[in-house]
């Protein structure tokens, strides 16, 4: 019985369904939203939101002076990085160039290497030899009546000694080659030593004659080639003395004495020839690279100030400069440019502005105490070598420079002052109403790397100078040149300063390409 009742109830309850009511789901949805936080906030939440909004929407924090410095540092960060990178790169390039140009002159010249391997004498025959040249030279040789009977094998030794000279000279003149060809044909009647010496002497003389004749500037020869061409005994590096040993010469002493002048020229003609071949410092075309450094004497002129009715203020200030130059020389003329860093530091005219008020923390006297400019100078000068000596050169130069202030550092005074001092202020009119902030004068305080404009940071100067240069070796020289730079565009900085500079530059120049 009891079991049947339970069963009845259970069945009835299991079959029971409540009719669907759409409004109930709305309540459920609202509950779900509230649980998730997305529904309409209750009155307490609305109140909280409103209160927070009212309090914080217009909330302001008092200004703190030091925070701008931090902001400025962050603004300067990209410029600081750029500046550091540029500084390091310039140093890096300068050191690299100095290293390269210093050791450039000690590098072995591949064209100066002499081929010492014996070759068949037939190789010396020159296609450029003309029959007339051959006959003429052969005639000269036969008149010497040389009676030696050297073999061809032995003659190849002499040929190898003169091969370097021939290789170096074969482009010089046809006369040289004719002599070589003649030697080839007469080798059977000459000893190796005589033939080689005679050949070399004639070759060299012919070449020098052609040079004296004057028209062609030949490819410059190395000293080694010149020496091998002369074949002067006892000359180091050639080892030709054994070829002149008496045991190897089939020649009687009288004949030897007679032809002596022809074998070894008593006049050191090769030196004269070298003087001709080597260009003087004022000749030729060449590219030159230099490093320059030196102190500057700056004459800073601050013009009359309309605003404060202050007289012009002039002063001398020391600075320094240094950088790289690149020039192109054409005989006595030279065009020079470069990139030269210049640091100019100087004090400022005492101009103060009074800020603040008696009621707001008192008066503050602000003024410019000094300026330091980091300037990149790009000169374009024309140089003329007035007095040219073998190792010395005196010159004058003139031109213009573009000067760009990369960075400017200005020092300010910031001093609290009393009322009595205010009344005695140098500023006209008592200056009580002058509240101009020096920092807010547009465009006069920042260099190019600090966000300043090119217009505000660039000025032109005219250059005039003289110099003396001392050459060392074939490529390098040191110089000293005082150069005066006259600024001829408007002044820079907050006080529109004009700066004329006398640079006492010292430096090193290196020739690129051929030796001088």
């Amino acid at each position: 019985m009891e079991n049947n009742f339970d069963k009845f109830i259970r069945e009835r309850m299991e079959r029971m369904e409540v009719p669907k009511d759409g409004a109930q789901w709305g309540k459920m949805e609202q509950l779900l939203d509230q649980q998730a936080g997305g529904g309409t906030p209750d009155i307490e939440d609305v109140y909280l939101d409103g209160m927070v909004y009212d309090n914080l929407n217009t909330f302001e924090v008092p200004y703190e002076e030091g925070h701008w410095d931090a902001m400025r540092a962050r603004l300067d960060d990209p410029y600081a990085i750029r500046r550091r990178v540029m500084k390091y790169k310039v140093i890096e390039v300068a050191l690299l160039l100095l290293f390269v140009f210093t050791f450039w002159q000690y590098l072995p010249n591949s064209t100066a290497k002499m081929d010492r391997t014996p070759r068949p004498i037939a190789d010396l025959s020159s296609p450029a030899t003309t029959p007339n040249d051959q006959q003429q030279t052969a005639g000269e040789l036969s008149s010497d009546q040389l009676t030696t009977s050297a073999t061809l094998e032995r003659a190849t030794l002499a040929e190898s000694a003169s091969a370097g000279a021939l290789a170096g000279l074969q482009q010089a003149s046809a006369t040289t080659l004719a002599a070589a060809g003649t030697y080839n044909r007469t080798a059977s009647t000459t000893s190796e030593a005589n033939a080689s010496n005679l050949l070399a002497t004639q070759t060299t003389r012919s070449t020098y004659s052609a040079l004296r004749g004057g028209d062609a500037m030949v490819t410059p020869l190395s000293n080694l080639q010149l020496l091998s061409a002369n074949l002067v005994p006892n000359e180091p590096g050639l080892n030709l003395l054994p070829t002149l040993a008496p045991g190897q010469l089939l020649m009687n002493p009288s004949e030897m004495m007679r032809i002596q002048p022809k074998l070894v020229d008593p006049q050191p003609d090769h030196l004269a020839a070298e003087r001709l071949l080597v260009k003087s410092p004022a000749e030729g075309r060449r590219l030159r690279v230099g490093m320059v450094f030196g102190p500057d004497v700056n004459y800073v002129m601050t013009p009359y100030d309309d605003k404060f009715r202050q007289d012009p203020f002039n002063q001398y200030a020391l600075g320094y400069s240094g950088g790289l130059t690149l020039s192109f020389q054409y005989n006595r003329w030279e065009v020079e440019t470069g990139a030269i860093y210049s640091a100019k530091s100087y004090g400022a005219r005492n101009t103060y502005e009074i800020q603040g008020s008696f009621f707001q923390g008192g008066y503050v006297r602000k003024g410019l105490a000094g300026s330091e400019l980091d300037i990149l100078r790009i000169p374009l000068n024309v140089r003329y070598n007035m007095v040219v000596k073998r190792k010395w050169n005196f010159y004058m130069l003139t031109g213009a420079s573009v000067n760009m202030a990369l960075e400017r550092l200005h020092q300010f005074t910031n001093q609290t002052v009393g009322n009595s001092e205010i009344m005695a202020s140098p500023v006209p009119g008592g200056a009580l109403n002058l509240v101009t902030d020096l920092h807010r004068d547009p465009g006069t305080y920042d260099g190019l790397f600090e966000g300043g404009s090119i217009f505000e940071n660039t000025y032109l100067s005219a250059n005039l100078g003289v110099g003396v240069e001392r050459f060392f070796g074939g490529r390098m020289s040191i110089f000293f040149e005082p150069v005066y730079q006259q600024q001829f565009t408007r002044g820079m900085g907050p006080q529109k300063d004009q700066i004329n500079t006398m640079s006492l530059q010292t430096g090193v120049r290196v020739n690129l390409g051929a030796k001088r």
């Binding site: 936080g37 307490e44 927070v52 909330f59 200004y63 925070h67 701008w68 465009g443 305080y445 404009s453």
Partner: protein, 187 residues
């Protein structure tokens, strides 16, 4: 009228100078808007150092993109918008480093409304700064900036329901904090 025109002219000159990256103009703009913007940044950060970091990051964006500012609109609102966006970026960065104290808010009882009304803006700011970055950011964006949950979700890269949930939890915790301040200082 003349004064308004003059102010408008000065603002135009100032912005042009800022476009030319004149430092004096940048400083002037910074000084003029420092107070309000620092207030914004403080709401989104834990402390003053972080707020200053956000402020300077925001001003860097302002100075770098000031050429995009359209004259005639409110420069203050434009800068504020940049500051809020910078704060959101700050939140995104900070959320990678922190774990959220999600369960923290469940056990807070709702305080008395009278107690909350007595709090000063400084206390409210401190309470907001005590919130976790997620709660704080959602709360600021929703309550003060007036963003919808959808916009918040898009900005922060979360779902709308998360935004809603964080807002509820932020409110709960904020109420508790403000109430505790009230009782602590005997107001």
């Amino acid at each position: 009228m003349d004064i308004a025109l003059q102010l408008q002219h000065e603002e135009k000159n100032l912005i042009e100078a800022c476009v030319n990256k004149e430092r004096w103009a940048q400083k002037q703009l910074y000084e003029e808007h420092y107070g309000k913007m620092m207030g914004v940044c403080l709401r989104y950060s834990n402390n003053q150092d972080d707020a200053l970091d956000i402020l300077h990051e925001g001003f860097l964006k302002v100075f770098n993109h000031i050429s995009k500012y359209q004259p005639g609109t409110s420069i203050s609102a434009w800068i504020r918008r940049i500051m809020v966006n910078t704060s959101i970026d700050y939140y995104r960065k900070s959320i990678r480093r922190r774990t959220e104290d999600i369960d923290q808010a469940y056990h807070v009882s709702a305080p008395n409304a009278d107690a909350i009304s007595q709090c000063s803006e400084k206390e409210i700011l401190q309470a907001i700064q005590t919130l976790s970055p997620a709660y704080r950011t959602v709360f600021n964006l929703y309550v003060i900036e007036g963003y919808s949950h959808r916009e918040i979700a898009e900005q922060l890269g979360i779902t709308e329901s998360t935004s809603r949930s964080n807002l509820v939890k932020a409110r709960l915790k904020l109420k508790a904090l403000l109430a505790s301040n009230y009782f602590e200082y005997g107001k």
